[in-house]
C-alpha cells in the first residue's frame, strides 16, 4: 500500500480505520454508495411522483388530505376495467357523437353520487345503472376515476366558454383583469359542490399517466380565460399572461380545498388580493417603459452635448 511505486501511480487516501487505500478502492466504495442511493430512489421515487407537483401543488398540503380521502386501488381497478371493457366494447362501435352523448348521460347521472362513492369506477357504474344502461357501460370511461375527473374538467371548461360568450357582450366596459377575475371565480365555483371529494380528484389528475392531460386542460383553461377577457397580444406577454392565469387557478383550487371559512370567503379574498398584485405589476411595467423613453432622451441629449463640447458637431456641419 505504501510502496513508493504504487504511490507514484495512485493517489492514496486514509480511511476512517486509519488504513491507507488507493484510489481504485475508494472509487469502488463510492460506486457502491451510489448504487445504494439509486436503489433507494428507485423504490421511493414513484411514490413521490404520485403525490408530487401537479400543477404546482405542494405535497405538504396534499398529503394529509389524501390520507383521509384517497381510496382508489389503482392496480386492481385496471384489471377489472380490462374485463369490463371487453363487454363495454359494444359502445365503441357507435359513432363518436353518439358516444359523447352516452358519455355525457352517464357522467351527469354519476355526478350526484360522487358524494357517497367518490370519483371512482363504482360511481360511474351506479350512474350508468340509474339511467338504465348496463353496469359495464362505465367502460366508456377508459381509466375509470381519472377519466371521470378529466371529463368533469372538460365539461367545466365548456360551460365557462358558454358563460364567457354571453358575458362578452354585456361587460365590454370593464378592464381585462376584472374580467379575468370574474371568469376565474366562476370556474372555481364550479368545483364547490364537490369540494369534500376534490382532493381525490386532484390526486387522480396528478398521477404520471394523466399529468399530460391535466397540463393540456390547464393550458386550454388559461387560454380561454385570457382570450375571453380580451387579451389580443401576440408577443411574449401572451405567455406571461397565460402563466399568471394558470398559477392563479391552481392557487385558488388549493386554497379552496383547505378553506374552513364561511362560503370560502378567505379564498375569494385571497384571489382578489392576487389580482390586485397583478394589476400593480402591470402598472409597474407600464411605468418602466415610460422611463425607458426618458432614458433614451437623456442618452440622445448627452450625446449631442458631448459632440458640441468636442467640436464634432461643428466639424460635421463644416465638412458638408
Amino acid at each position: 500500500m505504501t510502496h513508493p511505486l504504487s504511490s507514484c501511480f495512485c493517489s492514496c487516501r486514509v480511511n476512517r480505520g486509519g488504513q491507507a487505500e488507493n484510489s481504485l478502492f475508494s472509487l469502488f466504495r463510492g460506486s457502491v454508495h451510489l448504487w445504494k442511493i439509486d436503489r433507494m430512489l428507485a423504490r421511493y421515487l414513484p411514490l413521490l411522483q404520485c403525490y408530487g407537483n401537479f400543477m404546482g401543488r405542494t405535497t405538504i398540503i396534499a398529503r394529509p388530505l389524501l390520507a383521509s380521502n384517497f381510496s382508489t386501488n389503482g392496480t386492481t381497478s385496471q384489471d377489472a376495467n380490462a374485463s369490463a371493457q371487453s363487454e363495454g366494447r359494444r359502445e365503441e362501435q357507435v359513432s363518436s357523437s353518439k358516444e359523447d352523448d352516452v358519455k355525457f348521460k352517464i357522467f351527469s347521472a354519476a355526478l350526484p353520487l360522487v358524494h357517497q362513492l367518490g370519483w371512482t369506477k363504482e360511481c360511474l357504474e351506479a350512474g350508468a345503472e340509474s339511467i338504465g344502461f348496463s353496469k359495464s357501460s362505465h367502460g366508456i370511461f377508459e381509466h375509470g376515476g381519472t377519466s371521470f375527473v378529466q371529463f368533469f374538467h372538460r365539461n367545466c371548461n365548456k360551460e365557462l366558454r358558454k358563460i364567457a360568450k354571453v358575458e362578452q357582450i354585456e361587460s365590454a366596459k370593464s378592464d381585462e383583469l376584472t374580467k379575468v377575475h370574474q371568469l376565474l371565480e366562476k370556474r372555481l365555483q364550479m368545483i364547490l359542490p364537490y369540494l369534500p371529494q376534490w382532493p381525490q380528484a386532484m390526486a387522480l389528475m396528478s398521477r404520471p399517466h394523466s399529468s399530460l392531460d391535466s397540463y393540456k386542460l390547464l393550458y386550454e383553461l388559461a387560454d380561454d380565460i385570457c382570450f375571453f377577457a380580451g387579451d389580443r397580444s401576440l408577443n411574449a406577454t401572451w405567455y406571461t399572461k397565460r402563466a399568471a392565469v394558470a398559477g392563479l387557478y391552481i392557487t385558488g383550487e388549493l386554497s379552496l380545498v383547505q378553506d374552513k371559512s364561511a362560503n370560502c370567503d378567505e379564498s375569494w379574498q385571497m384571489l382578489a388580493r392576487r389580482i390586485e398584485d397583478l394589476r400593480k405589476v402591470e402598472e409597474f411595467g407600464g411605468s418602466c417603459s415610460r422611463q425607458q423613453e426618458i432614458l433614451k432622451d437623456i442618452a440622445q441629449s448627452s450625446l449631442t452635448l458631448i459632440r458640441n463640447l468636442t467640436g464634432m458637431q461643428s466639424y460635421q456641419r463644416n465638412s458638408r
Partner: protein, 166 residues
C-alpha cells in the same frame, strides 16, 4: 403555419428598423422606409389572422426582436449595397417559404384556406417586388455578396424551422 408567417413579418420589420437606424439619413432612406411600411402592413394582416384563428405566437419573439434589428443594422453598417444584399437574401428565402406554404395549402383544401392563401399571395408578391428592387439597387455589387447571402439564407431557414415548432 400562421405562427411562422407572423414571426417572419415581425423579423422583417425589425430588419428594416435596423437598416433605417443606420442609414436613416442616406439616399436609400426613402426606399427602405417605403419597404418597411409595406412590411408593417403585412404584419398587420397576419396579426388579424392570428387573432381570428387563436394561434399561439412563437415563444422566440423577444429573440427575433433583437436578432432582426442586429441583422439589419449590421448589414447597413457595411454599406448601402450590403443592406440591399441582406434584403435580397431575406426576401428570396421568404418568397420560397411562402410558395411552399401555398403549395401545401392548395394540396390540402383550397376553398377552406382561401383567406389565408390570398393573404400569403399578396405578401409574397410584395416581397418579390422588394427582392427585385434590391437587385436593381446593386445588391450584387456588395462586398462578399455570395457569402453573405448564403449565410443569411441559412439563418432564415433555421429561423423558419424553429418558429414552426416553438
Amino acid at each position: 403555419m400562421l405562427r411562422v408567417d407572423h414571426a417572419g413579418e415581425f423579423g422583417a420589420n425589425r430588419i428594416y428598423a435596423g437598416q433605417m437606424a443606420v442609414l436613416g439619413r442616406s439616399k436609400s432612406a426613402a426606399l427602405i422606409q417605403h419597404m418597411w411600411d409595406q412590411e408593417k402592413e403585412h404584419k398587420k394582416i397576419f396579426d388579424d389572422l392570428m387573432v381570428k384563428h387563436r394561434v399561439r405566437p412563437t415563444a422566440l419573439m423577444p429573440f427575433w426582436h433583437i436578432a432582426g434589428f442586429l441583422l439589419g443594422a449590421g448589414s447597413a453598417v457595411l454599406g448601402e449595397k450590403s443592406a440591399m444584399a441582406c434584403t435580397v437574401a431575406v426576401e428570396a428565402s421568404i418568397v420560397e417559404h411562402y410558395n411552399d406554404q401555398l403549395r401545401k395549402l392548395a394540396n390540402e383544401n383550397p376553398e377552406k384556406h382561401a383567406e389565408i392563401m390570398a393573404a400569403i399571395k399578396k405578401c409574397r408578391d410584395e416581397e418579390q417586388e422588394h427582392h427585385d428592387t434590391g437587385m436593381d439597387k446593386g445588391a450584387e455589387q456588395a462586398p462578399l455578396y455570395k457569402a453573405m447571402t448564403a449565410a443569411i439564407k441559412v439563418g432564415c431557414k433555421a429561423a423558419i424551422a424553429l418558429s414552426t415548432k416553438v
